[in-house]
Symmetry: C2
Subunit: 225 residues, 2 copies
């Protein structure tokens, strides 16, 4: 057994800090561009068909790349998928956190923060519907290789919501009887399912429209006339 080559391990890395726009910087950019193409190809295929039903040949073809290139860039099919998950949830978490922080900066209430996060969630799902689909499909599975990755990454996202709830309880804006983790889950679920149904069954509706409906539900303005 000799070491061979295979340098999948670490790569230039840009991931974490998203959207540094691009251009400039001489970093190993070609590599990164290929990886990006592979992510995009994989995300839609896996969202449609599931992980196991999607072949590496399909991914390569859709990305316009040779099969060998996939394995030059990723150690295996499941590693590609895991990195895709990390990448995507990173974007979501950042977006939620930013929405919460902006509201705080502008002196909004915690309900305003939740509302802003609902909107941020909708915007994310609107922009990356395939990723969202795939994430939901995998989230509650057990016995899969990437289970732990998924858990970590889920907790990061939910934690942002929990933080806002906890702060709201602390400053008296929310009842101290609410169950923070469960309420956070429920809110995430509300947005997730409503948004996916929106995308699947009434894609013609505007984001504002959907946001308004969810906002009303959040603020308990359902009952009463």
């Amino acid at each position: 057994m000799i070491a061979k080559k295979a340098l999948h391990g670490r790569v230039p890395v840009t991931i974490g800090a998203m959207e540094s726009s691009s251009t400039t910087s001489g970093g190993g950019t070609r590599r990164e561009a290929t990886r990006q193409k592979l992510y995009e190809a994989a995300v839609t295929l896996i969202a449609e068909q599931g992980f196991s039903a999607t072949t590496v040949d399909e991914i390569a073809e859709r990305a316009g790349v040779a099969k060998g290139t996939v394995y030059y860039n990723f150690a295996s099919k499941s590693v590609l998928f895991e990195e895709l998950l990390r990448h995507g949830v990173g974007l979501l978490t950042a977006s939620l956190r930013e929405a919460a922080e902006k509201t705080a900066r502008d002196g909004g209430s915690k309900v305003d923060a939740l509302d802003a996060m609902i909107r941020a969630g909708l915007v994310f799902i609107d922009r990356y519907p395939a990723f969202t689909q795939l994430y939901v499909a995998e989230l509650w599975r057990t016995n899969r290789a990437w289970q732990s990755t998924l858990m970590v990454v889920r907790q990061q996202a939910v934690a942002v919501v929990e933080d806002v709830l906890r702060e709201g309880v602390h400053n008296g804006e929310f009842s101290d009887e609410i169950d923070v983790p469960l309420t956070a889950s429920a809110l995430v679920g509300m947005v997730l399912v409503a948004a996916l149904d929106w995308q699947s069954f009434q894609p013609e509706r505007s984001l504002d429209d959907v946001h308004a409906a969810l906002s009303r539900l959040l603020q308990g303005r359902v009952s009463g006339r």
Copy 2:
């Protein structure tokens, strides 16, 4: 081409009312027992691993049956899965509808009906967690053979919620500004995600506990002290 055998089409049928025990009557009870075992084996395996990653051999083995028996009872792997879906969502829909009707009979309000349905949903998920997982994982996929089955079956379940909302709007209990389909989706999502997270991450909590938290959210008793 002669007809051959293969009688997958119609079968004695007992489904709904399980456990007619055995003995007596020459009725095809054996068949139904085998199918039930296959459903049970398939539902957990597919929930854990996904449809494509689950092999027919595994299903047969877990059910304690030979592979050929699977094909004697179902035309194909995906037909088995489709019938499983129909079976499961049938149970859910019936349970939701019953909860709503009972509330109406007892002269409860529409909010009470929604609350009863939330509880019914939780009870269902508590009893059939694997089925729920699998259902969520498949619901928003596209390009799959059972797409249409899934849509029909989804609509049946959501329609029960929509009906209650619509009645509530009609009798003035709910604002006529609410968006019925979207609110229904959001409510379903709230329960679904909260329940799955409950099962996955805090299984020690009681159903009443979880129900109370969701109830509070439904009634907008989150804000305020």
